[in-house]
Symmetry: C2
Subunit: 436 residues, 2 copies
Amino acid sequence: MKPVKVGVLGLGTVGGGTVNVLKRNAEEIARRAGREILVSRASARHLTQQRICDTQGMSLTVDPFEIVNDPDIDVVVELIGGYDLAKQLVLTAIANGKHVVTANKALIALHGNEIFAAASKKGVMVMFEAAVAGGIPIIKAIREGLSGNRIKWLAGIINGTGNFILTEMRDKGRDFADVLAEAQALGYAEADPTFDVEGIDAGHKLTILASIAFGIPLRFDKVFTEGITQITRADVEYAEELGYRIKHLGVARNTEQGVELRVHPTLIPKRRLIANVDGVMNAVLVCGDAVGPTLYYGAGAGAEPTASAVVADLVDVVRAMTSDPENRVPHLAFQANAIVDTPVLSADDIKTAYYLRLTAEDKPGVLADVSRILAAHQISIEALIQKEPLAGESSVPIIMLTQQTLEKEMNAAIAEIETLATVTGKVARIRLETLG
Amino acid sequence: MKPVKVGVLGLGTVGGGTVNVLKRNAEEIARRAGREILVSRASARHLTQQRICDTQGMSLTVDPFEIVNDPDIDVVVELIGGYDLAKQLVLTAIANGKHVVTANKALIALHGNEIFAAASKKGVMVMFEAAVAGGIPIIKAIREGLSGNRIKWLAGIINGTGNFILTEMRDKGRDFADVLAEAQALGYAEADPTFDVEGIDAGHKLTILASIAFGIPLRFDKVFTEGITQITRADVEYAEELGYRIKHLGVARNTEQGVELRVHPTLIPKRRLIANVDGVMNAVLVCGDAVGPTLYYGAGAGAEPTASAVVADLVDVVRAMTSDPENRVPHLAFQANAIVDTPVLSADDIKTAYYLRLTAEDKPGVLADVSRILAAHQISIEALIQKEPLAGESSVPIIMLTQQTLEKEMNAAIAEIETLATVTGKVARIRLETLG
């Protein structure tokens, strides 16, 4: 049979990795797919740059539109990233009847609904395994592997940079800013680290996971995100003392009131497998009503792990390209006409347990005041540590774990606690999930 | 569209769980599959038995052949287990043009080559996600999710009973026989526990995993299996002291000399995620050349976790049943004509590191003798513990970790060590894998 002809847009890290994997494993991949998969064209910003891949046998261009408009190309692999140009290219490829594979989480999270509608109309596939958690086949696991379940919730470490920073803070007792600077020097973190440390990148990925888990449209605008910039070394240590690890999680939960979509630092019990996922590694915990908790772990970024997902999508496309479009795996796991726009809960209505840290004068009555305020908001204290004052200081840190409460109750309680004359500064608050 | 009509053979634990999941999640499943999936017929040994599922609306029979011969049935779900009858039923269903879903690992491991050949001839699908690691979508992950990789090796905790026993031995300092008796009382272990504790069940599953990972035929007859019956409480404790856990692993490795297929107790570093998979849970670590190590974790048995896999297969069948049989996901991941009968290495030619425990007289020169024998076989010692003699005893336990060596060298060395006058009894030997 004729080889499937692929056009790759973007020959950076992931593009180069994809070309390398397709070449190195060409025989193995053809044995699986039943056809050879050939990168016949690729676009890059500069034609004469040093690359991680061999471009022999490919026709190179600086204009990606040449590729999406080339009638000889069967599948377009979009690896340039970003929003506008990528969207235009993908929509043009679809309009030209080409299947698309992309690793672009931002594109899918923000424009996926429109892109999938266009793809369904043209009967082409748009695959995006590489958009979430790099090489871990998490889209496939949820979309196909757990299709018998009502997914109750999922929680993922889906940003390697953030997890690297939190792991270093814990292992080496270092401060956030210090580790971030090192991560930037090592190339793990971007010069502008906002997307990673503020949870935006994780928010894009969570949007996609929640959609395929619950059968809801992609709603990135509804994701609550909180970054890890406020996490202190002290919080990491107190959490350990209480038997917890702090991880930056994306959490999606299917509740009777609506869907929770949130990214925030989270205390999780140390004994959970996911609490032991360290460094730049990713992991996603998915709980289905039939299967119970399942976990998927692997490299969430990097040239070849991401390429692994891109190539798996290519093999899927090859295996399904002659099939009836009506009977393929739906883009968002559920049939397009069965996607239900379940309300997404506002942050106020999310229920979690909390870790609180406050600095108080070392005087009788402080704890009584704090407890009274929490009780007035129906918040129960689960555990408490009060430390000795440091030498020469008159204030002490008080650390509390609370039971589950609505976020709005916690906001109100914290506001009141902060007005106490005996409490100094802000109350630090980190959400806590048992993931049981 | 008309519902897909399913006939279920066997209404025991997994059969009942499958019916329950299909009924409870009917709407959610139809939203994913695009069609209703209806169990219209089922067979059971007795028609009037108490069951875990509601059989309303199904036509029941004691004769499973009625179902595989019923022209009205689209898909047969085989959940009766065992070899002969199951094989006959599955082959009849295939001959009648029906797709088959099975949870029967023994059937696939022993007769899969024949069954898949028959299925390919008739253009029907035979799905078996539930045959390995229960609810974990591990077949799908390897067969489709990692299809861009050359799989280098995989290692799995794929027998829950064995893992429960080893976990209890470690956590509570109990003996093997004692925990086994409890597991039998709890219903985790069969009255005849041979399949579980001797590694036969794990061998069936490993056979399947290795085949789809490496593109080789199913070769259960070539799997080396060693059970956990010889593991002592002392071994578990010494392993911990050295920074390791003992797990009963199925290991498959793709080497230049051939494929290793082996099930045996294994020391693995405590810090590995898979070393922390406890109780009846299962996990499989898969290392691809592009993606690196990935891990899949979840419930490996039980009514609903297994049903989760059966139903996912049913959804896959529904999504693909109108497709061209030539372009579907191949049964064993690789195209039938691309399966290569790579030699499977004999146990003698397997290379691993070892944990050795021997009892020696507390005399000078013993260690020198033992070290000399190991050195003569080119075996290096990596770590060593020599304990004080117990009160009133003159012999001491010596524990060693060695570097990697060929099994035949180790066998020869152990035989020589056992002839030393200063060494009492047998040398206990457990393989060690760093899984790095």
